[in-house]
Symmetry: C2
Subunit: 113 residues, 2 copies
């Protein structure tokens, strides 16, 4: 499998545990569906396979979205921000993105002052 582009690797600015946050947006409606975490290998798999793979901070393992739930994320585009610490992942989301069953992980979770 192809390695990650060294220019891209050099641009990533990681958290102390080696991760970049990945903001996932439905490509047509522009809903923000979820935020996941990627290390270099998760990013490499995502670009190579066209399906989105994350690193789970709680389970300490890779997970490819949809392998358990069926709610696959097909990669439509990927952008890295100006300072290299966040990815914007454009996807076609099958079914709900959230493990609780809501479309987005932010649905109905308003915080007030």
């Amino acid at each position: 499998m192809p390695a990650l582009d060294p220019d891209l690797t050099a641009r990533l600015k990681r958290t102390p545990d080696g991760l970049v946050c990945a903001v996932v947006q439905q490509h047509d409606t522009l809903e923000v569906l979820m935020v996941g975490w990627m290390d270099d290998e998760a990013l490499r798999r995502t670009l190579a396979e066209g399906r989105v793979t994350y690193w789970s901070r709680s389970r300490r393992e890779y997970w490819r979205k949809g392998d358990t739930s069926g709610n696959v994320q097909w990669l439509k585009g990927l952008r890295l921000d100006c300072d290299g610490d966040a990815l914007l992942v454009s996807v076609e989301q099958t079914g709900p993105a959230c493990h609780t069953g809501t479309r987005s992980c932010f649905d109905g979770r308003e915080v007030t002052a």
Copy 2:
């Protein structure tokens, strides 16, 4: 100034350096403008003032968006995701969100496989 709601504090799941990522979205167009980082105090200030404040990982200080650039972010809404490690901040963005002058920090920064 009011303290942060203890229920909210308890729900936050922080990076090893005590931060939660904040995804910033223009409230009407739904563009993702940037990703910043908040600790509890930055979140408290954001909710109390109605203007978005971050913690700068590189400068090790708080910064309220627009104080230097004039490109203020007015808070329109704030949601915390299902597992408490990401905020979705809905804003009215004045001018460009990116310090490089682009509207979004992701504009023109496509990554390809």
